[in-house]
Amino acid sequence: MTADAFAVGGRNADEPAMPDVYAQRAFGFWLYLMSDAIIFSLLFATYAVMARNNAAGPTGHTLFSLPNAFGETLLLLFSSITFGFATLAMKAGERARMLSWLLITFVLGLAFVGLEIREFHGLVQAGAGPDRSGFLSAFFTLVGTHGLHVSFGLIWILIMASQVMVKGLTAPVTSRCLRLGLFWHFLDIVWVGIFSVVYLPGIL
């Protein structure tokens, strides 16, 4: 497998199209990510329209915590770079090193989901659940959808880690891990949007 197989899509643009099943799967997964990007964009648009409709209830300024949002941001960013290290270890064919980086990525992602669940729980306890106002409905839908994606990503990491353990770094396993990488890095991009559109302007 050439180094290009690890880039998005897996082959050069100026090469003749080859019936490369892994390149096709990478492209199919890329299309899925694009449709996911549209879903998130529309949830962002909904949030931006609803952000001021707090129905005389609490606003982001009183509800959001800057340290909490910063902690979540750092956890996801660090999990992105540790997944990158796992990809590099996979490229080098070092299975044990790849598995330890996958495990660290999993722990960071789990801590992120934990912080988010704690935040959501605190909000609902404080009477600021999704039924309180249009602003909070949009907030829980947007941030919750992202959190759900991260949770599914965590399950996927566990599945791929066990496949790497049982089957080794075979071509199908490697290509699945690359698609998982696309998914994981994509979720960090969505989070950049969330802290820039939801948390920072809300706290400001």
Partner: protein, 105 residues
């Protein structure tokens, strides 16, 4: 980008460069909101600009998107997606702001 340079470009250094850039682009907006040295509008503009640059950094350094080495159909898909997002998000804002304006008359 030539095929031979791709391997080096996507190595450890490549990821760490992206990580450092992402950290800086995260620290700037968070620091601005934490210390509040600027009025609201410039702060919001800086948050927005830092976010757009950070998204590009992630696409380049983590998703390895490049104008020359990424397959053309993937680039077409992301450009098409960007156009759809622009139309749907821009259209939503246009309609809702217009509605706000008319309802408050």
């Amino acid at each position: 980008m030539a095929r031979s340079t791709t391997d080096n470009d996507h190595g450890l250094k490549f990821y760490l460069t992206g990580f450092a850039l992402a950290l800086i682009l995260t620290a700037i907006p968070f620091a601005l909101v934490a210390t509040n040295p600027l009025p609201k509008l410039p702060t919001l503009i800086i948050i927005g600009v830092a976010a757009v640059i950070q998204v590009l950094v992630h696409l380049r350094y983590f998703l390895h998107l490049a104008l020359t080495s990424t397959p053309r159909e993937n680039l077409l898909a992301i450009v098409f997606t960007a156009i759809l997002i622009f139309l749907m998000v821009g259209g939503s804002f246009w309609i809702m702001l217009d509605l706000n304006h008319r309802m408050s008359m």
